[in-house]
Amino acid sequence: MAQLVPGQRRDFIGEQPVLKGKRVLVVDDNATNRRILALQTAKWGMVALTCEDGAQALALLQTETCELAILDMHMPGMDGIELAHRIRAGGNTLPLVLFSSLGRREAQDSLFAATLAKPLRQSQLFDTLVTLLAQDMPRRPAATAPAKDGIDSTLGQRHPLRILLAEDNVVNQKLALRLLQRMGYRADVAGNGIEVIESIERQPYDLVLMDVQMPEMDGLEATRRITSRWPARDRPRIVAMTANAMAGDREQCLAAGMDDYVTKPIRVDELVAALGRIKPRQGH
């Protein structure tokens, strides 16, 4: 059963212009989950349509248009992955989000645009919906190599990485997700060091983009814990992001065990270079 954990230090109260009026399909056999997702998305101004199984969902999509669908993984009869395949087989290209206690390792990446882990975090739900629905242009065809802004949108395909963005500042978070998206990446989000460690326990990442100044547990402390707990080959690379241009800042990050360092505001060329230095890990 999902419970909605309040977002750290941030509240996402009231209608959100980016989400307002957008129609989301929620498919889950668990009535509590359906209710939580419907209530929360409705608070942000979205229109939620709920179904308790895949057959209902497929029937509904024949007549209704939705901008996004959240599919529970474990449902009796047709599970989330089979439902996703059947939605695609019907020619529907709406973005699909997998809702699962095991996270993305259950599904091939191309089928789902994002995954939501259980317990569901309000902040994660918000970030996921905004990232998927805030696109200011129709989604690009798969391979449009270097755009006029010089951002190579195929980088994520050519050099795939599982990325965790650790950042509590909403502006920085949105901007980083946006730049990553334009390079063809998506990322999970953690709002403090504790969430970072929980996320790493839950699933493998190749890279943590780590803000240094976060509440609860900062990036330096989180890095020390990660590096003392996992050997280098079993943990993600950690790249610091910091707005401190003070001398000694870089040394502090490296001393804590971080592997690399980019300054904020994030520059695309710096980010591309840092991502290029990361090698995807094998398996978990």
């Binding site: 212009p17 802004d149 500042n169 100044q213 707005a243």
Partner: protein, 114 residues
Amino acid sequence: MNDVIDEAVFTELQDTAGAEFVLELVGTFLEEAPGLMAELRAARDAAHADNFRRAAHSLKSNSQTFGALRLAAAARALELAGLHPDPATDRQAIVALQAALDEAAAALQELARG
């Protein structure tokens, strides 16, 4: 060119992130900023040094993203200095910071709408 917004920084942000997205991001910043100012004031009242620096840091970081030079400088000064032994000094600085924020907000909205 003025010292409220560095338009080169702002234009580069629009080029890399997209103008429509930047309009939305300015909106996010302006929604977040009053909360950060409130955190700063509350930290000053409670003499909570960590929260004071962190709120100033967040304001600095966000203003740098948009090239809001004057606001960034004022926030950075508070971040680096931390709590002043005399609360009245900080309260004056916070009033100046609020003025810089208002000025930056107006300029950013105008620029973002293009």
